[in-house]
């Protein structure tokens, strides 16, 4: 048997996803849509937060949402109460969303009729970090009930995020949440990461976040013109 030849390849394993994500980003840009994805562990309050945000934003801008889960359309039904167009992506056994699923899910929507699109990923703090979905902002959510050291345990996803959102702030006292410690841990894995503190139940911090998103949309449109 002959000696094997070493052939140089240099190919990114996730290239197919990255190429699709770039294509999506370009489509979103040309339609002036701000795209925001949400990642977190299961049960940290992504859907409740998104429902609040969508309901509030509806009054000012045209919004839509995609929501990924392994099974059921429960989250889409919940989000649809906001009156925004919502589509459920059922991933079956897959633990994360990929750009191809987003492309497929938005195929019937006219992006020019949208201002903001939200993509709620499957509840998982590991796998979604590797997949670009063409979003402008990736939010990582963490509820106060999860423990202050969550960012240290899952540095990859926190490092890949553009914004962190602390949820269920109304439970801070009940679970003796150490806010300073949590903020220091977020800062350790991603120095300079902006943090919002919200409670979907009491409404705390929701308005501030909505205003932040609207300002992001304005600057996105301004940059598109420039």
């Amino acid at each position: 048997m002959t000696q094997p030849r070493l052939v140089e390849v240099r190919r990114n394993v996730l290239k197919a996803n990255d190429v699709l994500a770039r294509e999506l980003r370009e489509r979103f840009r040309s339609s002036g849509v701000l795209v925001v994805s949400l990642v977190s562990s299961p049960g940290s309050g992504k859907t409740a937060f998104l429902e609040k945000i969508l309901t509030q934003l509806q009054q000012q801008v045209r919004v839509a949402a995609l929501v990924g889960d392994l099974a059921t359309e429960n989250d889409a039904l919940r989000l649809a109460r906001s009156q925004a167009p919502v589509k459920q992506i059922i991933t079956g056994t897959l633990c994360h969303l990929e750009a191809a699923m987003v492309k497929n899910a938005i195929s019937e929507w006219n992006l020019d009729e949208l201002d903001m699109l939200f993509i709620e990923n499957v509840g998982n703090l590991v796998c979604p970090s590797s997949y670009d979905l063409g979003e402008n902002l990736r939010l990582v959510l963490m509820s106060v009930t999860e423990g202050e050291d969550k960012p240290l345990k899952y540095p990859t996803i926190f490092n890949s995020a553009d914004i962190a959102v602390l949820t269920k702030m109304d439970l801070t006292q009940a679970v003796e949440f150490n806010e300073a410690c949590a903020l220091a841990n977020i800062e350790a894995v991603r120095p300079g990461l902006e943090v919002f503190e919200v409670s979907s139940k009491s409404g705390e911090g929701i308005q501030a976040f909505v205003e932040y998103l609207c300002a992001e949309l304005v600057s996105l449109r301004r940059n598109a013109v420039a």
């Binding site: 030849r5 240099r10 190919r11 990114n12 990859t156 490092n159 300079g192």
Partner: protein, 114 residues
């Protein structure tokens, strides 16, 4: 556990290259950053599964793990992180979000038997 779908992408890619180079792949060399979100051990066992009933069956996956390297603005130098959850310069302690290496997930070479 997205390592299986990643392993399947690697196998698919290697099959394509093997066809182009008219041979059988005996090993795949992969660069894997510590911040890629992919676990080496899970990838290795997934790889074996993904190779079954393909022309890569029996091939080896050689993983070169790359540490996280950041750029420190104070030192004006690249520094290797000791811990994946402490993004500050190991020399001067300045926090830095500037990652220059560690997100790689790249097939760099194949060993092909003709």
């Amino acid at each position: 556990m997205h390592e299986l779908s990643i392993a399947m992408s690697i196998v698919e890619m290697a099959e394509e290259e093997a066809q182009r180079h008219c041979g059988r792949v005996s090993a795949v060399h992969l660069k894997l950053g510590k911040l890629s979100g992919v676990a080496k051990e899970a990838l290795l066992s997934s790889y074996e599964m993904a190779c079954q009933n393909t022309c890569l069956q029996g091939s080896r996956l050689m993983v070169e793990e790359l540490p996280i390297v950041v750029y420190c603005d104070s030192c004006r130098a690249q520094r290797e992180l000791k811990l994946p959850h402490w993004f500050c310069c190991p020399e001067c302690g300045t926090p830095t979000p500037d990652v220059v290496q560690g997100k790689e997930l790249e097939v760099v070479a194949l060993e092909i038997q003709s």
